[in-house]
Symmetry: D2
């Protein structure tokens, strides 16, 4: 007694039913399915394809079903396969004959895509909000630590001194592009498949523009075969998520490093740390480890979806039912990663004293020294390299070298060289646009503070 | 009030708790966790680290907990993080003081790996059994269609005639290697991590050989750091699953093709087909489409796990908690794919008449004809190519060419050529080991029938 | 004697040199590296950081080097590591002292990203042009086959009749979104990293807006750490490529099916087919098989790049040198896939007669029949399902059923039902926006013809 | 004038030729192709399918061609598509008529798989040797640093003290399983496809056992369709490589951490370090960064191959030509990673003094202290957690607490507690099998020293 059972003599076996059902996960779409069905019913009535009282029964019935679902009183049945059939069958039980008219000029093929796009549109808004939330947390963290100099790294070797806010704003920039990518994706996906029916459209006089408008789409999709067969909108969505996840994995790695005994830059509060079942002293930065780790499943979800779509002929194939779980998982994971990163950001303290004490290590001022020389850069580089070599062999800082030491290496050194040495001096020299110079960073910080409407106190 | 809370002043925030919990999925391990704890407790008692009555309380309590879980009466608590802490805490509530001794000389790091390996060992057995089940279904299908000639394809173009059993046994061969791969994986993983503790072992006089034996492992792992940090056993497991999934995706593709109107080789029964919500005539081979499609998530799961492990320093990192869901999903999916494929195999009929009618198309006998000529093969190939070209231009079969036609192309053709033309003649010529010749295929079929103990009637 | 050798006593071992070199692949960037260096030198001169005659020597020298490279006369040296050092060292050999000033206020970190973005910008233009080229080929194929009805499929089962142009335009729609995705990517990436230097900017008075403008960027990147450490622009690029590749893999699959003996929809010309080394009759649609297959490496390239970036702390890490090969491979592959698909499209003939002969199979008119009934759709679906069941048991088409047959199933059938049966009738009924109705398809076709400026004769 | 051109009127277009050629990469197989052809020719002669003088000409010609290739004098022609056709055509030019007989009872389908398996077999031997080489380097490093205590980490937080050799041997264990996995793969792949021909075998009286033996295979493959269509042997191979690559990425991460200013555990020699183009002081551990990074492409190669094979129907499809590049790339990359890791291991010095100075940080003795208490472990854990809390608030080590301090927390502490505190004391307590206890580690080290025949001086 499937709703499509007319030509069938046997029902499917239990194993096949279990293997092919999607209700266990696609019920997630219930709200958008009902939204779509309401728009569809209203359009059918407007076009005279169903009566107005039928429409009213349907709308009322669907509202009732939504209430039931949200109250946890709806019985989801596996033998009804999916969210669409569950709701349609329940509607039929509730209001009888009119329900049987709802699926006029509609197939599950266009219905599910309408639902899924509506769901994804909301999901994008949710992620974009979470991105902003994390950006704000990072900007506030930057505000709270203005002026704090930390070592900047390349190859995880100390490179040049940077202001902590400068470094934190690098993540804010990345996240801003992440949001832009998602919004582009939303614009591109926001065309309505409803009315494409199975794959070819219909001969019934439907009005696709009406349903498209009612559901907030830009316009109906132009080609019915394209409408039911392509999944590029979720491929693009999960790609964008993967890039965000990669960004967060890097933040995770960095903060795990910073929380280590060896770096010792930050102390996370107890409220974002966990302990060990055996080692009583342990206090681990688990949330950021999991942020790093969970990036893997976001990538795995994308690979699943790409592999799924590879090599399928037009139009709809049942394989595509497998498109939902990776999308649901990807969104849930990324939102969690963003939220927890923001919470972590709000619960760390920078160990300013310890950081400052460590700054002399690593010759962070070497490049500034090369710039000081005013020689052809390759020559300057070679000279400073020799100075560093001397420091390493004597276990000194560059600023510990005497002017004699320096002059022996190059006559281009003069007394004013000491205004360029040491981390504070070095950082004070930066002035290029986008650099870690204090004025540049202050301007960047202002930009974001204003953009996000953050109060500075 | 976490079990590790001694040094902490605050508990974790709700969001962090929700983000870091694993109980929602790792409760799947409960049986193996209890099994491991029982072996551990027995060993602790034997070594005098806990008393015998403590041990007895623990064993009894754990049995009780297992019964509760299996009766659905156990309360899994998210604030207790994972399956290990849930069971230990419940045991403490149940039996008090002795429970607090259970975690002696043990960390969750070695505990979870012991549980996970035990679980995987069982899972491998389950998959290997499902593989055999599908192999048997394929062999039976071959038996039921002995002698049926079908077109063999390369490039999805008709190539040479083959016996259907020969083709079905190709999948049986693939599956046999799949099982072998899993069994190798099981041998390699079957070393016991228990007693590695956090990462360094312990100073307490435990007996790791005793627990290893009790749990059916080959031996304890030799290096405690390796024991808690590596996940290669699941990487290997999911790799093996991915290969199986690829094999099944190819079977799925093939059977979807065969069920199409255009190929028309098989008719699946209604019990393994589903219909359309809009198109009343549709009868779709959904299970095999989903077999094909679900291969994607098995690959996605592997990618998740590989990406997860990439670049993590020793030893345990919290990222690794993410190792379980992809494994659970991969196993569940592959078992489903295998079972449903077997069920599908049991519910299809080969349309012998239609297949036979289509055999003359595609010049399946061309290669046999080239062999017939007895000329240097390149020359023979060229000659038969010319014959085919003639057939294409006149819309004929090779056997429709007259001896004059043939002789005009090459004097090497004689009257006996017609014993080599036509699909039946062509297939009768095959005789090389492993070929599609009737005798060879019969021998292969016998091999599998005997191996699986299949009754031929 | 590396250019960075000042502080070093030993040079690297041969194995390390070989393992870490990038010149074997990054010489691909030579043109953009020179372009970037010229803009940089001009800016340095304008800002007074180098003299005008130094600038002129540098510009002239770089032009000379470009000519040498393009004439195949440049010696790429592995011991000079990468394209940047090769060109700088050659310039030094050529013009001496001034060359040593070129690297003022610049690091390879910002240099390589400038080069790479310039390269990617060009690559996007190249792909977008290839996309349009394929779209045009598909539209022309549609124009040449206006009015040709083919079976539309879902689940690879015959579903409803569609016009071939409608189906071909589905791919045109997909490709249009593909191009849009790339152009969005280009807009987002088009910000200039030059001047970010190693990671922190510089204290020298450079003008980043000048170089940004000279190189056609929208603006300099705002944050120097972000500038040198992020690779999201290539992640987004390869994601877009992967989606395009997926689309093409589906086209490949479809055309391989269509070229099979069983479907027989198309005949590719000899000029896009290849033969077999053993089977003289074979003519295989290899290009489209490879289009399908090569999608795999495009996905693999994306996975490489995602995995590469996962978990790297700020700012630059040497791992990132591995970003180039997957990008080069992805672009080359996708361009090849697009070009060959277009060429294939130009070299196939639709077998109109054979297609038409096959149309009665599969009850393609069943949904039209359900719409005809004007009953609640679920009821109509059930009735037509029963009609189909009758046809299957008697091996008839729906139009072969007598009015009596039909009326026995439902009194809602009347004589005019026969105006709805048969594929021609069925297709004539379609009229919804975006449907396969002749008028709708003609409008779509016109849209693309006009957009691409295709002449209709 | 392709060798398969008999039925064709046109040759392929330039673009198609370029897109479909494989000679640019499959010439890598030349040696194994010649080896296979020689065995095949000898078998054909033995079976009377070609004459003995033909055989002799062929063998001599093939040897000559191999010499030409190895002397760099062979002209590889793209219009001859692949390595097989290039060699066969060159042989024909060289020896004439006999060459045309070589392809008797053979197709490129079985030929390429024979070549590829022979190549992979050698590649496995090469990787296994490189694995052993790295293991030896690690064992020697362990020998040179016996007794060196380093902090063991979980969550990158200091956990317990471990002996450096113990930690290094964890990698040796992983690598040992990696080698085992490859050897299992080799056993499973070592069955000969030659004689499967296009897909169906042949009617000619070939002896597949003879060629299988001559080429060192275990036996001929049992099923000709399986033989030409499956690629599971390379999927398994690349899976094994991916796991090895993951292991090496972890080693890479760890050594990059250790080389940082903050950890400061190791100093790599100049010969395995590189500098910066702008920062004169930089000395970067690039080889290990690239080892970490290159793991990404090994995973990408696997994904390419899995995606490639997904959903292909039997038997051979041209997509499968794409199987070679990812395999070649994966092997080359993994061998490079292994070799460079070994070289790096030979060129680092452990900074023993600095490590030792840092050991008191992180309360590495906390777990030993909990064991000391002899209380139910949960209680002991709680008590020591309280001690740690006290230390953190007062910035003390556990051994700095007075007995009074301790007794206030628990009466279970006595004077002998100080024999358990401090890193040296802590490490001396370990004694469980596989633990970091000195005796256990010595035994492990002996095991490997003996196994690899390493001389201890």
């Amino acid at each position: 007694n499937k709703l499509w059972g007319g030509r069938f003599e046997q029902t499917v076996t239990d194993k096949v039913e279990k293997f092919t059902e999607s209700i266990s996960f696609d019920k997630e779409l219930y709200k958008h399915d009902i939204m779509g069905s309401k728009a569809h019913a209203s359009m059918l009535a407007k076009q005279g394809l169903i009566g107005e009282s039928d429409r009213d029964s349907i709308l009322k019935g669907l509202d009732e079903i939504q209430r039931n679902i949200e109250a946890g009183e709806f019985e989801w049945r596996e033998d009804r396969e999916d969210v669409h059939m569950n709701i349609e069958a329940a509607l039929t039980e509730m209001i009888g004959e009119p329900a049987k008219k709802l699926h006029t000029a509609r197939s599950r093929n266009d219905q599910v895509l309408t639902d899924f796009k509506l769901w994804c549109r909301d999901a994008i808004d949710r992620i974009v909000a979470s991105i902003k939330n994390l950006q704000v947390a990072l900007v506030k963290l930057a505000l709270n630590n203005e002026g704090l100099i930390v070592p900047g790294y390349t190859h995880l070797q100390r490179a040049q001194p940077v202001l902590l806010p400068h470094l934190l704003l690098a993540y804010v920039e990345q996240l801003e592009r992440d949001a832009g990518r998602l919004l582009d994706c939303k614009v591109r996906m926001n065309f309505c498949p409803l009315g494409a029916c199975a794959l070819a459209g219909t001969g019934l006089p439907i009005d696709r523009f009406m349903t498209s408008d009612a559901l907030g789409f830009t316009a109906p999709m132009r080609n019915s075969i394209d409408a039911v067969s392509d999944r590029d909108f979720v491929l693009e969505f999960l790609s964008a998520n993967s890039i965000t996840a990669i960004h967060l994995s890097r933040l995770g790695e960095e903060w795990v490093l910073w929380a280590s005994e060896e770096f010792g830059f930050i102390t996370p509060s107890d409220s974002v740390s966990t302990g060990s079942s055996i080692m009583p002293q342990k206090k681990n930065p688990d949330p950021m480890e999991l942020v790093r780790g969970k990036s893997a499943r976001v990538i795995g979800d994308l690979v699943t979806l790409l592999t799924l779509c590879k090599g399928l002929p037009l139009a709809y194939n049942r394989d595509l039912q497998e498109d939902k779980e990776p999308v649901f998982d990807s969104i849930k994971t990324v939102v969690g990663m963003l939220e927890v990163s923001a919470e972590f950001a709000q619960n760390i303290t920078f160990n300013q004293e310890r950081i400052q004490k460590s700054l002399p290590a690593g010759h962070l001022d070497a490049t500034t020294l090369a710039d000081y020389l005013g020689l052809p850069f390759r020559t300057a580089h070679e000279i400073v390299g020799t100075c560093v070599h001397l420091c390493v062999s004597r276990n000194l800082r560059l600023e510990d070298l005497t002017l004699d030491d320096l002059k022996r290496i190059s006559p281009a050194f003069h007394q004013d060289v000491y205004e360029y040495l040491g981390v504070e001096n070095a950082i004070n020299k930066f002035r290029s646009y986008g650099s870690t110079g204090a004025a540049c960073v202050a301007k960047q910080l202002d930009y974001w503070v204003t953009k996000f409407g953050i109060s500075k106190n």
